[in-house]
């Protein structure tokens, strides 16, 4: 069962990326997933930090780009591109610890039998450009700091003012520092208020809507930019699709493109995180399939849906995508 494997991989990486640093395991500073560097002893650092960072990121003055630090910045960018090419959106659906955290909230909600808060199609479409705005914000502010003399306290703008992972993930390392309001000066205060407020809102959002933050996550944009040259392919056999809508309803990201696609094969959209829930709940044989180069990792089949959604012969609740 794919979703069982996914649970194992998610939780393995959650432990590795949150506590790995304490055992000397560190996956570098260019991970395409939200492994938050503010967690003491984290097992790897999210690339967004390096992107905005002043030593090896956009915030470095133009002059330094020629020096050792410039090389380091390119090194991190190259590492990020390599990692993204290798696993594409698997980073989001299978590895990102913050995604795993959000999934826990969803399991909890489902266990309590509470209904998911549905977004209307128009509301969902209005949310799509938010992640581009956040990405722009994350790129422009460091450049302003480096070249336009913006005050240094605006450094790491996305991490310190928007990202809910910064206040929430360190809780797993026992530090509530990032939940505190920083009264050092107005900028740090505004940033910390924003950060804590957004984290509070996201916490509830995660509970009621599956993978709520992933709707706004700029990492999706960065990974999506490399989809053409990445070997990972998510394809739909348009000719055999029954149009039953399972893929659209079961998708944590409420993606409609997979269901509505009637002409071309590629259905890896910008929001998709390759959690393969749609492929697991598609009752038509061979319609949806995920490929890596020429190997088919997994494709939909009627027997799989039967095995997945039918509990063996004892009464009781539906064996649902837990």
């Amino acid at each position: 069962m794919v979703f069982k494997l996914r649970l194992i991989v998610q939780h393995l990486f959650f432990v590795l990326l949150t506590y790995g640093g304490r055992f000397g395991f560190h996956m570098g500073f260019a991970l395409p997933c939200f492994s938050c560097p503010f967690v003491m002893g984290c097992g790897g650092s999210c690339y967004l930090l390096s992107l905005q960072g002043n030593w090896w990121g956009l915030q470095m003055a133009l002059a330094n780009w020629g020096t050792v630090m410039g090389l380091q910045a390119l090194y991190y960018l190259g590492l990020f591109v390599l990692l993204t090419l290798a696993l594409n959106k698997f980073w989001c659906g299978w590895i990102c610890p913050f995604g795993t955290l959000q999934d826990w909230f969803t399991y909890l909600r489902r266990r309590l039998g509470i209904r998911e808060a549905q977004l209307s199609w128009s509301a969902r479409d209005r949310l799509k450009p938010v992640k581009y705005i956040l990405l722009a914000y994350m790129i422009v502010v460091p450049l302003l700091i480096a070249h336009a003399g913006l005050h240094y306290d605006f450094h790491l703008p996305f991490c310190r003012s928007i990202c809910p992972a910064k206040p929430l993930m360190p809780l797993f390392a026992g530090s509530t520092r990032h939940l505190a309001l920083d009264f050092t000066n107005t900028v740090t205060l505004v940033f910390s208020i924003l950060s804590v407020a957004i984290a509070g809102g996201m916490l509830v959002g995660m509970f009621f809507k599956e993978r709520f933050f992933c709707l706004f996550c700029p990492m999706l944009v960065l990974i999506h930019l490399l989809r053409k040259i990445s070997p990972v392919r998510f394809e739909k056999e348009v000719g055999a699709c029954l149009g039953c809508g399972n893929c659209r309803r079961n998708c944590p990201m409420d993606i409609r493109d997979v269901h509505e696609q009637k002409t071309d094969k590629a259905v890896l959209s910008e929001d998709c995180m390759l959690c393969m829930t749609c492929t697991e709940s598609c009752p038509a044989d061979g319609v949806l399939s995920v490929r890596f180069f020429k190997w088919r990792l997994f494709s939909s089949s009627r027997d799989y849906v039967a095995r997945r959604f039918i509990k063996p012969h004892k009464a009781g609740s539906v064996k649902v995508k837990v």
Partner: protein
């Protein structure tokens, strides 16, 4: 150091000697092998310039303590005279804590200027080579001893620093704090056994500037014994406080408040009004 430096009297009449002398940080440069070189200058508060003598009577002792343990004795650092002001530079290959002590005398005044600084060398390998190994500091030297603690490597306002004054504490006339040469109104009292606890106040200007901004606060102890005057200074390179301004209660309240607000909004508005 482009900043104005009080000059040093040409002759050695004790009247012309500067009242207070302390160490200040110069710029830091990173060598190709990743190690960093930190420049230090001597500054004084009196108007006559601090002039290098033909035969420098200042000695500089320094000790680098890096992550894996204390380095035994002190080493001597070559003091040079550039631009008429005594100057020295320390090269540090790995992350280490520098303890720098300069000793000198002019006329009847004996000066001791000290400083502790955290240096982050990222050299690929090897320990930093001491220029000239030297045993202990000269005996009987009046100096401040800052009790090392993990928190003090990154000196920041609002932290408490425990000093022990080596010299006969009884004859210490006054202990004062100087900023850019001006005496701050606080007066500190030295305990009988020479212990002093000093907590630098937060500086709104420092808070408003960048976290890497450094404010140099000098701790001065005047002691007069047997007709000589001992002026011992310790330079604290204070950054703005890293965690003093954090208010976790407010943060948690805001967090909880937002969560409740969002929950209310979601339950009321965003869950479609279904028949059930």
């Amino acid at each position: 150091m482009a900043s104005a430096v009080s000059s040093w009297a040409a002759d050695l009449v004790s009247g012309d000697c500067p009242d207070v002398v302390w160490i200040t940080c110069g710029e830091q440069s990173r060598r190709t092998d990743g190690s960093i070189t930190q420049h230090y200058w001597l500054r004084s508060n009196s108007e006559n310039r601090l002039q290098c003598f033909p035969d420098l009577q200042w000695e500089a002792y320094y000790r680098l303590t890096d992550g894996d343990g204390l380095e035994e004795g002190y080493s001597r650092a070559p003091l040079t005279c550039s631009g008429g002001v005594p100057h020295l530079e320390i090269n540090c290959r790995t992350n280490a804590r520098l303890e720098l002590t300069l000793v000198g005398h002019c006329g009847g005044k004996h000066y001791t200027a000290q400083l502790q600084h955290a240096l982050f060398g990222k050299a690929s390998a090897g320990k930093h080579a001491p220029s000239e190994r030297f045993g202990e500091l000269p005996a009987g030297l009046r100096r401040w001893n800052l009790k090392p603690s993990r928190r003090n490597t990154y000196q920041q306002t609002g932290d408490t620093y425990h000093f022990i004054y080596h010299g006969n504490a009884g004859s210490v006339e006054s202990v004062s704090v100087l900023e850019k040469g001006r005496r701050l109104p606080e007066d500190l009292s030295l305990a009988r056994d020479g212990n002093l606890v000093y907590t630098p106040a937060h500086d709104p200007h420092l808070d408003r500037s960048s976290p890497y901004e450094v404010k140099e606060t000098v701790l001065l102890a005047r002691e007069a014994a047997e007709g000589r005057e001992y002026l011992t200074t310790f330079t604290l390179l204070l950054h703005r406080s890293y965690s003093a301004h954090l208010k976790r209660l407010h943060g948690c309240l805001l967090f909880a408040g937002m969560a409740v607000l969002a929950a209310g909004f979601t339950v009321i508005f965003k869950r479609r009004p279904w028949y059930r």
